[in-house]
């Protein structure tokens, strides 16, 4: 189970990467593996605003439909359009090509509430 050290994590299995013009959000390797083959990703519209913990996207797999929660509050500045045609990118490359949403954080302080890779790893172990 890959947990890149340079990312931050939410307990609800989203990852966050801080970039110059916003934060990129996706789902973790554990999440994509649990969901199984993903067949559809319903992403938010650009400009939509979410609070931390609010459902902002829906991922449908062959097994189930899962909500994806905003790991921090913010405004959607970009979405991964390639998922419309190739939802499998979330399975194949969840930390890269399979990213979901880019947010402009409403309060950068919230980034400090996220887990480190080590902390997220501990959470997965305790859930197993």
């Amino acid at each position: 189970m890959k947990i890149p050290a340079d990312l931050r994590y939410a307990e609800s299995h989203e990852w966050v990467r801080v970039e110059d013009d916003g934060v990129v959000v996706g789902v973790t390797d554990f999440a994509q593996d649990e969901m199984g083959d993903i067949v559809f990703a319903e992403l938010p519209t650009i400009g939509a605003e979410y609070e931390k913990g609010e459902g902002m996207a829906v991922i449908e797999s062959v097994k189930a439909v899962s909500d994806i929660y905003a790991p921090i509050g913010g405004k959607v500045v970009a979405i991964n359009e390639s998922l419309n045609d190739s939802p499998e990118l979330v399975n194949d490359d969840c930390y890269g090509e399979g990213w979901l949403v880019k947010l402009a954080p409403s309060n950068s302080e919230e980034l400090n509430t996220l887990l480190s890779a080590a902390e997220y790893g501990t959470q997965l172990e305790s859930e197993a």
């Binding site: 083959d37 067949v39 559809f40 062959v62 097994k63 189930a64 045609d85 939802p87 499998e88």
Partner: protein, 500 residues
């Protein structure tokens, strides 16, 4: 080309000019189509309708039916769907001309028999539910759910309590429950299950309040377990001012044993196609009547069948219902499905229905006790009409619940419900129903044991199953990602072919 697997569509069969009928010559002058229908509505090119002989049509559909699986062909332990055998006498009665040839616009006095049947079916369902009146119009279980929720809304509205906008639903619920609640404009509040598989009363206590419009519950629930705290649950919701909705999907476990009305429920839907032996055929027609407690009767959708007690009893459709939520379906629902359910209830009688539930529960417990040797049983309690195993032991060997399900097809058995309920990992939900003899159950046990052994010794055999069906393992993921929705999409430049 493989001779066994090729199965052309009707569109790919036939030839121009081929036909299955010869009409007599017209004995009136022919009218040009354009004189009868405005030109803007006329096609410029003929519709691509296949032209076939009767023999071709017969072979096509008989061929398809031979590739199909149904309860008339083999065991069908599809949990939560109650795939019991439907006695053929139901079909005989539903095809009587006096039922089958009715027209919905016929005058009331010419359809007294049909109205009497609906009236009596409503009474029987109310007795089974322990409630006061019912509507037969919903066309499916989920339609019944939506209707029931609309009644809840109308009821709270009549009391000036529109702020009640939350429906509480357990995490083990059928997916239709939250979908129906959301469709009716409610917020869905999820209540977790406790370690015994019932509703966590402690959590429910925290969730009920002045915003609660109602609770939707299936009992026995989707784990096949009867909630031991049902009275505490319904009391708590009622005390908070909410109504109680009973999802009757699992009613096959309780007929004549206990009644949802006595458990404290105010609205009950029945799936006639599950509990009362009407066909599940091909997505319809279904029927999901709901029975309600007296305070909800004024809101029932129009029309309801009423009895006039003159010198001679007669029946009529009452549309004069000012508080009704309106009409929820064209005419009166799927009438011929009601005929089948009525025939079933009347041929079984109260004793027969009770026996059906007892046998359904006995069969499920027998299977559960024998199969727990081979598969993990996450909630080891006496079950009702169905139970949920987990293929977690097999998963550790690299074999998933879906591989077990696919392998069953090789043995001529329909797969159980898999990956549901969501609270059980690698779930296999098994419902044998009361209509299978013990010999079939024993054969199923042997097959499930053989599959568990295969998971240990030759897992590849399972992961590539089925091997003996008309088609092998289908790529379900690709079918969902890139569905081909149109046969005629093969036309060049048509981008609708892969569903985009």
């Amino acid at each position: 080309m493989s001779p066994r697997k090729e199965f052309p569509l009707l569109m790919e069969r036939g030839a121009p000019g081929r036909r299955a009928y010869l009409l007599p010559d017209l004995d009136v002058p022919a009218q040009p189509l354009k004189d009868l229908i405005p030109g803007e509505y006329l096609r410029e090119e003929p519709a691509p309708i296949p032209e076939l002989s009767e023999l071709e049509v017969a072979r096509h559909f008989v061929g398809l039916s031979r590739r199909n699986h149904g309860v008339d062909v083999g065991f069908y332990p599809l949990g939560s769907c109650t795939m019991k055998y439907n006695p053929k006498v139901n079909e005989d009665l539903a095809s009587l001309a006096g039922f089958a040839n009715l027209h919905p616009y016929q005058p009331e006095e010419t359809v007294q028999g049909a109205l009497q049947l609906m009236y009596e079916l409503e009474q029987h369902l109310c007795e089974i539910a322990g409630l006061h009146r019912a509507t037969l119009t919903p066309a499916a279980g989920a339609h019944g759910e939506l209707t029931g929720l609309m009644l809840i809304k109308a009821y709270h509205h009549s009391l000036g309590q529109d702020e009640r906008d939350e429906i509480i639903i357990p995490d083990a619920a059928h997916g239709t429950n939250p979908a129906s609640a959301a469709m009716c404009g409610y917020k869905v509040v999820e209540v977790p299950s406790n370690e015994r598989g019932g509703v966590s009363v402690k959590d429910l206590e925290r969730l009920v309040g002045p915003k609660t419009a109602g609770l939707m519950l299936t009992n026995p629930n989707t784990l096949g377990l009867f909630d031991e705290e049902i009275l505490a649950i319904t009391d708590m919701v009622r005390a908070a001012g909410g109504l109680l909705y009973y999802d009757g999907a699992n009613a096959n476990a309780i007929l004549g044993k206990c009644r949802p009305g006595d458990m404290g429920f105010d609205i009950v839907h029945f799936n006639l196609h599950k509990t009362f032996s009407t066909p599940h055929g091909g997505g319809g027609p279904g029927s999901g009547p709901i029975a309600v407690r007296d305070m909800l009767v004024p809101f029932l959708p129009t029309p309801v069948v009423e009895k006039r007690e003159d010198r001679r009893a007669s029946y009529f459709l009452d549309y004069d219902r000012p508080s009704a939520i309106g009409k929820i379906k064209g005419f009166y629902g799927n009438f011929l499905v009601m005929v089948r359910a009525y025939a079933y209830i009347r041929t079984m009688g109260p004793e027969g229905l009770r026996q059906a539930s007892e046998d359904a529960v006995l069969s499920a417990n027998y299977l559960m006790e024998r199969l727990r040797e081979f598969y993990h049983l996450p909630y080891p309690r006496i079950c009702m009409h169905e139970f949920v195993l987990s293929a977690s032991r097999q998963k550790a060997l690299g074999v998933a619940a879906q591989d077990v399900a696919k392998r069953l097809l090789d043995y001529g058995i329909h797969a159980p419900t898999v990956y549901f309920p969501l609270i059980v990992e690698e779930a296999l939900m098994i419902e044998p129903t009361e209509t299978e003899p013990k010999a079939v159950l024993d054969e199923f046990i042997d097959i499930m044991a053989a599959i568990a052994k295969e998971a240990e010794e030759s897992p590849e055999q399972l992961k590539t199953a089925p091997h003996y069906t008309v088609v092998g393992r289908l790529d379900e993921t690709r079918a969902a990602r890139h569905p081909v929705l149109r046969w005629r999409g093969a036309v060049e430049g048509d981008t609708t072919r892969d569903g985009r």
